[in-house]
Amino acid sequence: MAMNKMKKINISASLKSNLITFGIVIAAYAVMQILVSLHLVSSLMRGLLVPICVYVILAVSLNLTVGILGELSLGHAGFMCVGAFTGAFFSKYILYAVPGMPGALRFFLALLIGALFAGLFGLLIGIPVLRLKGDYLAIVTLAFGEIIKNLINLLYLGIDENGVHISLNSALDLHMEDSDKIIVNGAMGITGTPNDSNFTIGVVLVLFALIIVLNLIHSRDGRAIMAIRDNTIAAESVGINVTKYKLMAFAISASLAGIAGVLYAHNLSTLTALPKNFGYNMSIQILVFVVLGGIGNIRGSIISAVVLTVLPELLRGFVSDSRMLIYAIILIAMMLFNWAPACIAWREKIRYRLNRKKNAKEAE
């Protein structure tokens, strides 16, 4: 009887926590929409709305790998890159092949394709990589991310009546009569992707990513994944298929990153694979969101992704030259405040004192 009661409370606690997370996202969306309609948001901030959604999805999906699976991945931007390029390629192709297709359907299919390919890459890379551990796994994911970025910069791809043309050398090697039908043009990337994304779609995708990740965490599979994180050998000994669950978490994380990539690609007219957007710097930036928000804490990831994306832009108004310097200092200070044992002890002490005062007042 007591057991039953306990279980009931537990389930409702996780549900409540999930609902709060969804509530925060929806409330933030509503507030932003009202502010935008009242023209209280600068055009700069309006331009940030979709990227914020992209970063939130990336942070939530990376948290699945880092927080729930417990493996450090430094190649998350690579999966985003795969999603962005496959999604944009599809949309661009449909623009030529089926001009009549409505934008919403086209974008939906692009999302599916981006997620599928990124997930496939996650699976392919995961099979060899997940044999490694810790820092070795981190460096190999970093290497894969860089390889993906590097190859996409060399890729020339076009489709015409004669079929698909692929080259890793130059646009001329494609031997296409109509150069307008070259879709991926090497380092110049994909230009003219239809601008199908907006803030509303972004938020819907954020909610979708949240539903997937939160449901996974509270499911049987999710518990198996967390068991692997806490003790691989113990998990294996109770019959959990370690490889299967590791791959599952990794592939889901990758395909969510792919969705973020598709969203990213359809917000820009020109998509190029630069070190800035798909290199290891980006992967590290996503990791910063995850660690600062709290490893394994999905709500924290959302908040830190939003704050850290908006912060440099807010600082631009006050100190335009040194804004990234201040960003760096804030990042270091927040990490020390959140994680240093000395700071944690100090915070405990303050909390204890406050509680004692409150208790003393109540006693009076």
Binding site: V66, L72, P128, R131, L132, K133, D135, Y136, A138, I139, V140, L142, A143, F144, E146, I147, N150, L151, N153, L154, I233, Y280, N281, I284, L287, V288, V291, L292, I295, D321, S322, M324, L325, Y327, A328, I329, L331, I332, M335, L336, N338, W339, A340, P341, A342, C343
Partner: protein, 294 residues
């Protein structure tokens, strides 16, 4: 003949990677952390030399000396302020992210002081180029100096670690911190010393790198830093000879990849080789294989 000249260039580039990788590997061996700011210490070292030699007009030897001293102090300061408070943190990722913060910090300090435009670094090497094999191969002075400096540093470092008390203390701390402390070793001082040596090596690497490739920007250090990190993992992170071998191999592979396959794909090739090595030997070339116990 071009093969030999590519090989020499590869070894030269690899020597720079090896010097940087030594810093990564020593810090990892002792503090068990990936010091992402290490690449930016290289850049700071190069900028210090640039300031002393090109702006103030002082002799190159002084420039290198100032850079080494400055970076040594900088390395110790970074360790004290940003890493030491997190040494006993609940997650090892915390210090990794702080290191990333330090990396941004150093890049942006340099950006504020020197601007984003590339500075042309005047080579500190005055040695003439040498022609080998009847003039078919030209080896630049920078290449010779880089290789010689790297070999000297490797020998000195090996002697330091095996023959001095401080070096033995380092080995002890990397083996078991608690036991080392019980033996009367000052663990904090040993870790600080490791950061000091690593940063000094990074500043020398920075000067050598910029002498060979004279473009200097606030982001100069980040890609060599990542490559050296790859080299350290390649050779087996935590192992000093491993860092040396990994660095040299990585440099040679990169130059050969550029020369024979595709200059744009050189980075992809380097990373692909790393992945292959790690898949066959998951702890790197010279890494210790630790059996996991239940």
């Amino acid at each position: 003949m071009s093969f030999i000249s590519y090989l020499i260039n590869g070894i030269s580039l690899g020597s720079v990677y090896a010097l940087i990788a030594l810093g990564y590997t020593m810090v990892y061996g002792i503090a068990k952390m990936l010091n992402f700011a290490h690449g930016d210490v290289i850049m700071i070292g190069a900028f210090t030399t640039y300031t002393v030699c090109s702006i103030a007009g002082l002799p190159p030897v002084l420039g290198v000396l100032v850079a080494v001293v400055f970076c040594t102090l900088l390395g110790m300061l970074i360790e004290r302020v940003a890493y030491k408070p997190l040494r006993k943190a609940a997650s090892p990722l915390a210090v990794l992210i702080t290191a990333i913060g330090v990396s941004y910090f150093l890049q942006n300090i340099a950006l504020l002081i020197f601007g984003a435009n590339a500075k042309s670094f005047t080579s500190i090497v005055t040695l003439e180029s040498v022609k080998l094999a009847g003039g078919q191969i030209t080896v630049t002075g920078e290449t010779i100096v880089t290789i010689v400096v790297c070999i000297i540093i490797m020998i000195l470092l090996t002697l330091f670690i095996n023959k001095t008390k401080a070096g033995q203390a380092m080995l002890a701390v990397s083996e078991d911190k608690g036991a080392a402390q019980l033996m009367g070793i000052n663990v904090d001082a040993t870790i600080a010393l490791t950061f000091a040596i690593g940063s000094a090596l990074a500043s020398i690497a920075g000067v050598l790198l910029c002498s060979a490739y004279p473009q200097l920007t606030p982001y100069t250090g980040s890609m060599p830093g990542i490559k050296a990190f790859v080299a350290a993992v390649f050779g087996g992170i935590g192992s000093i000879p491993g860092a040396f071998i990994g660095g040299i191999l990585l440099g040679v592979i990169e130059i050969f990849g550029k020369a024979y396959i595709s200059s744009q794909m050189a980075d992809a090739i380097v990373f692909a080789v790393l992945i292959l090595v790690l898949l066959v030997k998951p702890t790197g070339l010279l890494g210790k294989n630790i059996q996991e116990k239940v």
